[in-house]
């Protein structure tokens, strides 16, 4: 087995959008993928196993990452993309320019780009797609709320006008919000996908298989594989078995953590990549006892994150102490703050006058959450806190009961959205955290004009959040990619955008 551990992404991500622009980064050619010398002439097919099942194909109205991580970069494309190392790269925009005041982004578009149905991609599509964000009901269109209007300069030039400078506009444009649509195709987004990407969507058999074929008319370099199919497995073990028995060529975000070692042989390659996920236990500050910050700190100190990590992911991943992940440019390791110290925890709880606390812990019925919750329950019983676990079906029941009705004392979930920390600035979020100071830090970050300023503001916000303990950030899960030998060029990292399979080569 070869384990290729990608370099920490922090440095790469720190190359900011503004720096890129001022260096004239728009001139950079589209990213070359490794091993695509003989592109477009293989008749190989690639089957990849996934865990999260897309309910349909419309990520503009259906939540969850499953849909766009399959379609984005493969079928749909945006103006810019996130490279596997986390840098922002040109895609449908050849280059771009940002005005001095940070309010105008002008993009030069690729020419000769067509949608899969044959219609041409022009500046009109950019205008249509970005203005349609108003109609989105899922996947955080408000990330681009600073976007005021889209101006079609000419057929291949477009200018975005912002109402206020927003540091992260280009970053959000790399995600689902930046996907380009054809106006004639938006009526059946849930069942069809018409994009400009390297793979043409063929069919989706609900919860079983999504099939694609190579786009023979692709404007860029054609993908090496002729056929791509994404297969969905509800449980990690079935997925691992499928890989072992040749049912799939690779697993992305493999979750059969205990079996990773057993793929240590010549037949398979294991890569440990990064993800954006934050597995967080939220403490409901409206609950008795939990309204006291001392109690929340005591609970944080009672939890043995090493055990949680061992139980949930067999130890893969990074223990966290704050709501940022190692790939965030503003990441700093807070895992030493209010860290595991059961005696101090018990003392703190006693000092606060809560020595017979009993709490309800609602959890999504997913293996990682069940494993983590049982360890936490055991940990908390050691300091005399009685925890009752209530397992709720995910997504429907958990979202309704825990997230919408906030009917919990403790709850846990893996937030896979990019940079979801900003939700601590939203008092209406189910986290129920409201700190004027934190909101000010977030505002500073948004209006920042360079990396240092942005990171400093985000870090200041992080420090305050960590001190208030609205939640206990357990760990950042890894993105484990296991492939059979002969399959190369798979994306290593889960960047919270699409998994790009156009650079994958298959031999044998």
């Amino acid at each position: 087995m070869r384990i290729t551990r990608p370099q920490a992404l922090t440095a790469a991500l720190a190359i900011s959008t503004l720096t890129l622009a001022s260096c004239g980064a728009g001139d950079t050619a589209p990213a070359e993928e490794a091993g695509t010398e003989e592109t477009g002439n293989s008749d190989a097919s690639l089957a990849v196993g996934f865990a999260a099942v897309p309910a349909n194909l419309d990520f503009t109205s259906t939540g969850g990452a499953a849909i766009f991580e399959a379609l984005l970069y493969n079928t749909y494309e945006g103006l810019v993309r996130l490279g596997d190392d986390g840098t922002i790269e040109p895609l449908l925009a050849e280059s771009w320019d940002i005005s001095e005041d940070g309010l105008e982004y002008t993009f030069d578009l690729q020419e000769g780009v067509t949608f899969h149905d044959g219609s041409e991609f022009t500046a009109e599509n950019v205008e249509f797609s970005l203005e349609r964000l108003d109609e989105w009901t899922a996947n955080a269109p408000e990330n681009l709320e600073a976007l005021e209007s889209v101006e079609v300069v000419d057929e291949h030039t477009v200018t975005l006008h912002l109402s206020e400078p927003d540091y992260d506009v280009l970053f959000w444009l790399t995600g689902p919000e930046g996907a380009m649509f054809d106006p004639d195709s938006v009526d059946d987004l849930a069942t069809e996908a018409n994009g400009t990407g390297p793979f043409v969507f063929e069919s989706y058999e609900n919860a079983v298989e999504m099939s694609f074929s190579r786009n023979a008319d692709y404007w860029g370099e054609q993908p090496d594989v002729a056929e791509l199919s994404l297969l969905y497995y509800d449980d990690a073990n079935s997925a691992a078995n499928a890989l072992r028995t040749g049912g799939v060529d690779a697993l992305v975000r493999a979750e059969a953590y205990d079996q990773v070692d057993s793929f240590e042989d010549d037949e398979f390659t294991v890569q440990l990549g990064d993800s954006q996920g934050v597995v967080v236990v939220t403490l409901n500050s409206d609950s008795e006892g939990l309204s006291e910050v001392e109690v929340r700190q005591a609970i944080s100190m009672a939890i043995d994150k090493e055990s949680v990590l061992a139980a949930s992911t067999s130890g893969y991943g990074t223990e966290l102490g704050a709501p940022s992940v190692p790939t965030d440019p503003y990441y700093e390791d807070f895992s030493g703050t209010y860290a595991y110290d059961p005696e101090a925890a018990e003392q703190a709880l006693e000092d606060a006058g809560y020595d017979d606390l009993s709490l309800t812990f609602t959890i999504p019925n997913r293996p990682y959450a069940e494993a983590a919750a049982q360890v936490i329950q055991d940990n908390l019983s050691d300091i005399g806190v009685e925890v009752t676990i209530e397992s709720q079906e995910f997504p429907a029941v958990w979202i309704e009961e825990s997230m919408t009705d906030r009917n919990f004392d403790l709850t846990v979930v893996n937030h896979v959205e990019n940079r979801n920390m900003v939700n601590y600035g939203n008092p209406d979020h189910y986290w129920g955290y409201d700190s004027e100071e934190v909101r000010e830090h977030f505002d500073d970050a948004e209006s920042a004009t360079d990396d240092d300023e942005h990171s400093a503001a985000m870090l200041a916000a992080t420090e305050q959040i960590v001190e208030d303990v609205p939640g206990i950030w357990l760990y950042n899960p890894p993105n484990i990619v296991i492939s059979r030998t002969g399959v190369d060029g798979l994306p290593q990292n889960d960047l919270g955008a699409g998994f790009d399979f156009s650079g994958v080569t298959v031999t044998e």
Binding site: V53, A55, N56, D58, S61, T62, G63, G64, T137, A138, N139, A140, E142, A190, T191, E205, N206, A207, V208, L231, Y233, D234, D235, S238, N241, A242, R244, T245, G246, G247, E393, F394, P395, A396, V397, I399, E400, M403, T404, E417
Partner: protein, 314 residues
């Protein structure tokens, strides 16, 4: 005879109608908002309300019932809340998979049960007969998903003879057989053990019947008598049991479907429940219920054809 068939059909239709009422109103109390479940973590209350209206889940229940029930029987089951695609093709696909899987399971079960049960009955008080009984007794005690897990471990992961899961349609020929083999075996082994016990009981019962005694008294060997007269009579209870097993298997296969990643009715139902895809849940449940009632009807109609005793009685 014809009158009986008409009467049975009438009762069947009435039963189906009552069942449709039960299914619809039982499921309309399902907690969890389908609109909220779909929109995910970030949606506003206005967006959720708009989707509720779009899905039609804000209308009075009787209106929704009429639309659903007429749709169901005209093949238009509506649009799935989750996949936004028509429900009918999805349910029919899953139904086809389930029927094939269950048929495969019953076939395996019969292949095991008939000889095993027959031998256990004929050699009742001899060591091998007892051994057959013990084997079937043990077989019933093993959860079928455990059998499935073990089959995967041995025949897929270790020996690589069969795929560990997934499905191929019958049109795929050999690939279909490779995919259905292990799940059908897992279903069939345990149910074969159950059927074997009933076969044994049915055969023993037949052996006690007067006509068998007469046949033997006339000098026929027990084996010959059994084959000539007995099996036909033993078939009646067996067909009834198989039909009841069918009802249990069609949804009981859900665990096997989960283990083998087979997209049948059961796994679709569990997923639809998780998504609060109410219209899908209703359609699948209704489909199962109609199917079970239909099989019962068929058995009722067939029984006099097979059983000479019943025929003379009517």
């Amino acid at each position: 005879m014809a009158l009986m068939i008409v009467r049975r059909l009438g009762v069947f239709l009435l039963t189906v109608w009552v069942a449709s009422l039960v299914v619809f109103f039982l499921l309309s109390v399902l907690p969890g908002d389908p609109a909220r479940a779909q929109l995910g973590l970030d949606a506003t209350e206005d967006q959720v309300q708009a989707l509720r209206e779009q899905l039609g889940v804000d209308r009075p229940l009787p209106v929704q019932y009429m639309e659903w029930v007429t749709g169901f029987f005209t093949g238009d089951m509506g649009i799935s809340y989750a996949s936004r695609a028509p429900v009918a093709p999805q349910v029919l696909d899953a139904l086809q998979v389930s029927l094939l899987l269950v048929a495969g399971g019953i076939l395996v079960a019969l292949v095991i049960a008939l000889p095993l049960g027959l031998l256990a009955a004929v050699r009742q008080n001899k060591p091998d007969g007892t051994l057959f009984s013990a084997v079937s007794q043990l077989g019933i005690s093993v959860p079928n998903f455990l059998a499935g897990l073990l089959l995967i471990g041995v025949f897929a992961v270790t020996l690589s003879w069969f795929p560990s899961g997934g499905w191929a349609p019958p049109a795929a020929g050999a690939d279909f057989l490779r995919h259905i083999a292990l799940p059908a075996l897992a279903l069939g082994l345990v149910n074969g053990a159950i059927l074997a016990r009933y076969t044994r009981a049915a055969v023993l019962e037949v052996m006690r019947e007067d006509f068998m005694r007469t046949a033997r008294a006339k000098g026929m060997k027990p084996g010959t008598a059994l084959l000539r007269h007995g099996l036909r009579n033993a078939m009646v209870p067996l067909i009834t049991v198989t039909s009841i097993e069918f009802a249990n298997l069609i949804i009981g296969a859900v665990v096997i479907e989960t283990v083998f990643v087979v997209p049948g009715l059961g796994s679709n139902l569990v997923r639809a429940v998780g998504n609060r895809d109410l219209i899908m849940v209703q359609s699948i449940v209704m489909c199962v219920v109609v199917l079970v009632l239909l099989v019962n009807l068929l058995v009722d109609l067939l029984r006099p054809v097979i059983d000479p005793r019943l025929r003379s009685a009517t």
